[in-house]
C-alpha cells in the first residue's frame, strides 16, 4: 500500500507539475494522503467534509470512497487519482469552489463500480457492455451520500 502511495504520489506530482502547479499545494493540502484508501484521508480537505459526513449515514458506509470513486483495475486506479489529484489541487488552489459536482468521467467510473459489485443482480437489466438505461445513481440517489 505504502509503495503504491509513494509511486502514485510521484505520478500525481508529475502531472501536477505538467499542469503548471507547484508541489506546495499538493503537500500543503495533504494531497498525498488522499492516495490512500482511508476515507478519513479525503477529509483532509475541508471541502470534502459534506461528502464524508453524508457517506457516514449512507447505506454504503461500509464501502470506501475509492471503491466507488476510483476505477478497479490497476494502473487506471492511480492515473485516475493523479488526474483527480491535479483537478483537486487546481480547484483547491485557484477556485472559490462553491458547488462540487462530479465530472462526467468520474460518473463513468462510479457506474462501472456499481455494475462491478452488483453484476449478478443487474445482469438482465444491465447486460455487461450493453448500453446503460441510465446511471444507477439516477434512481439510487442516496447510496453513497444519504439523501
Amino acid at each position: 500500500m505504502r509503495t503504491w502511495g509513494l509511486l502514485s504520489l510521484g505520478v500525481a506530482i508529475a502531472v501536477g507539475l505538467v499542469g503548471g502547479l507547484g508541489v506546495f499545494t499538493f503537500v500543503y493540502g495533504k494531497g498525498y494522503s488522499y492516495l490512500s484508501d482511508d476515507p478519513a484521508a479525503c477529509v483532509n480537505c475541508h471541502i470534502m467534509r459534506d461528502n464524508f459526513d453524508t457517506w457516514t449515514v449512507a447505506t454504503h458506509r461500509s464501502i470506501t470512497c475509492n471503491q466507488c470513486h476510483v476505477p478497479e483495475s490497476f494502473p487506471w486506479k492511480y492515473t485516475s487519482k493523479a488526474r483527480n489529484g491535479w483537478f483537486h489541487s487546481y480547484a483547491f488552489t485557484f477556485q472559490d469552489v462553491q458547488l462540487i459536482r462530479i465530472k462526467a468521467a468520474n460518473q463513468e467510473t462510479l457506474q462501472r463500480n456499481c455494475e462491478h459489485c452488483h453484476q449478478r443482480l443487474v445482469i438482465h437489466m444491465q447486460p455487461p457492455g450493453a448500453q446503460r438505461v441510465r446511471f444507477c445513481f439516477d434512481c439510487h440517489k442516496g447510496v453513497g451520500h444519504g439523501l
Partner: protein, 409 residues
C-alpha cells in the same frame, strides 16, 4: 451502437425455445421468460388483484362507462361515436376484446382500429403493408387473417435480441417528420418510445384511413391544433352547434413530454414497469398498471418522501386538474346551450362563426386533458394551464353566441 448492444443482450438469456420473428403468441415467449410472462398476463386481472378505490380516485382498471359517470359527455360528443360507448381503459390483455366488442363504429371499423390492439399486427403489416392493412375493414382483417392476440411481447420486443423495437409505422413516420432519427434512440428513450406507438393522439387521413399522428408542428396542444387547422381538418361536425370538431385521444406521450419528469429523463417504463427483485436478479415488472398501487418500487426509488406523501402528491395534482376539468365541462355545456339557443332564435351562420370557432378551440383543449389518462399527473401545471385556457375559450364562445345579433322579428 444498437447492434453491439443486442449481441450482448442475447447472451444473458437462457433460451428453451427459439422464438420466431413477430411471434404473436405470448405463451411461446413465456417459455423463455416465465417471470415476465406471468406478470404480463396479470394485466387481464388488475381490477381483481387490486381494489383501486383504496388507492386512487380517477383511473383504475374497471372498464366503467364514462358516459354514465358524466352524462354531459353525450352532449359534448353529440354526433360522434364516443357518445355511443366510451369506457375507462384497462390492462393490455383486454385490448383485442375491447376493440372487437365496443359499440363505437359498430362493424364499420376500419383496419386502422386494430393497429394498437394486437400482437398479430406486426406480422400482418409486414404481410400486407401498412396502407392496405389500414384500408381493410377490421372485421375482414379479423376473419381472413385470424387475429387472436391482444397487445403482447412482439409489439415491443425483437424476438432474437429481446431489445425494444418500434413496430408501428405511424410512430416512425411521425418522428421522421419531426426530424428525429429513431435508429439513434438511446435505450432510455426506447423505454418511452415503445409506448408512444399507441398512447398518443391520432387521426385518419383520406379514404384509406391512413393512420397519422398530428405532430408536424410539435407535441403541445397549440401545435397540434395548428396542424389540424392547417389542414382544415375536422373529425366531425357537432350535432348541436354544427361546429367543426376535433376528438382528442389518449395523448399520454404528448402531455408527459411537457412535464418535469420528461425534462429529467424519466420515462414511461420507469413508472409503469419498475424494476422488481425476483430472487437473485432484478427484472422489469411486466404487470403494466397504475403506479398508485406500487409507489414503493416506482416513485420511492427516486424520491425520498414516504409512500403516503407521494400518494398525496399524485392525488393533489389530480384533484386540482379535476376541479378545472369539471368547470370546463360546465363551461362547454353552457356554450353549447347558448349556441343552440342562438340558432333556435334564427341567428345567421355568419354571426355564429365566431362562437363555433371558439367552441372547437375550447373543446379541443379540454379534451386534451379529459382524454389523457393521468388526470393531469403527467404534467401537472401544463394540464391545468390548458384547462384554464379551455374555460376561457368556452365562456367566450357562450358570450359570442349570447351577443350575436338576432334577426329583427
Amino acid at each position: 451502437t444498437i447492434a453491439i448492444r443486442q449481441q450482448e443482450a442475447r447472451q444473458t438469456f437462457f433460451r428453451i425455445v427459439e422464438i420466431a420473428e413477430n411471434e404473436p403468441d405470448p405463451a411461446v415467449w413465456g417459455r423463455n421468460f416465465p417471470t415476465q410472462y406471468e406478470a404480463y398476463i396479470r394485466t387481464m386481472r388488475t381490477s381483481e388483484l387490486v381494489q383501486y378505490s383504496q388507492y386512487g380516485r380517477y383511473g383504475g382498471s374497471e372498464a366503467f362507462s364514462k358516459l354514465e359517470k358524466h352524462p354531459d359527455y353525450v352532449k359534448i360528443f353529440a354526433g360522434y361515436p364516443f357518445s355511443v360507448e366510451y369506457n375507462e381503459e384497462r390492462g393490455h390483455m383486454w385490448t383485442l376484446r375491447d376493440v372487437l366488442e365496443t359499440k363505437r363504429l359498430g362493424d364499420q371499423k376500419p383496419g386502422t382500429c386494430m393497429t394498437c390492439k394486437s400482437s398479430d399486427v406486426p406480422r400482418l403489416m409486414q404481410q400486407l403493408g401498412a396502407a392496405q392493412f389500414y384500408a381493410t375493414p377490421m372485421k375482414d382483417l379479423v376473419e381472413r387473417y385470424d387475429i387472436k392476440h391482444p397487445v403482447t411481447c412482439a409489439d415491443c420486443h425483437d424476438a432474437q435480441t429481446m431489445a425494444l423495437r418500434i413496430t408501428r409505422p405511424a410512430f416512425a413516420e411521425a418522428m421522421a417528420v419531426r426530424g428525429i432519427d429513431l435508429s439513434r434512440a438511446t435505450r432510455q428513450e426506447m423505454r418511452s418510445y415503445v409506448c408512444a406507438q399507441c398512447h398518443v393522439e391520432y387521426h385518419f387521413r383520406g379514404e384509406g384511413r391512413y393512420l397519422v399522428f398530428p405532430w408536424a408542428k410539435g407535441l403541445r396542444v397549440e401545435e397540434v391544433e395548428a396542424y389540424y387547422d392547417g389542414l382544415g381538418f375536422k373529425d366531425w361536425e357537432h350535432a348541436i352547434t354544427k361546429a367543426p370538431m376535433i376528438k382528442i385521444q389518449h395523448p399520454e406521450f404528448e402531455l408527459w413530454s411537457t412535464g418535469n419528469h420528461a425534462r429529467s429523463g424519466v420515462g414511461c417504463a420507469d413508472c409503469h414497469m419498475p424494476y422488481r427483485r425476483v430472487g437473485a436478479v432484478k427484472i422489469t415488472d411486466h404487470w403494466i398498471r397504475t403506479p398508485l398501487v406500487n409507489i414503493e418500487n416506482t416513485c420511492m426509488t427516486c424520491h425520498r418522501q414516504s409512500e403516503a406523501e407521494l400518494r398525496g402528491r399524485i392525488l393533489e395534482a389530480q384533484d386540482r386538474t379535476y376541479q378545472l376539468l369539471t368547470q370546463g365541462e360546465q363551461a362547454l355545456i353552457a356554450a353549447i346551450a347558448a349556441i343552440e339557443k342562438a340558432m333556435a332564435e334564427g341567428v345567421s351562420d355568419e354571426n355564429l362563426a365566431e362562437a363555433r370557432g371558439l367552441h372547437r378551440k375550447a373543446q379541443l383543449r379540454w379534451d386534451f386533458i379529459s382524454a389523457e389518462n393521468s388526470m393531469g399527473f403527467h404534467s401537472p401545471q401544463e394540464a391545468v394551464r390548458i384547462l384554464g385556457d379551455a374555460i376561457d375559450h368556452a365562456r367566450r364562445a357562450e358570450l359570442s353566441a349570447v351577443r350575436a345579433p338576432r334577426p329583427r322579428p
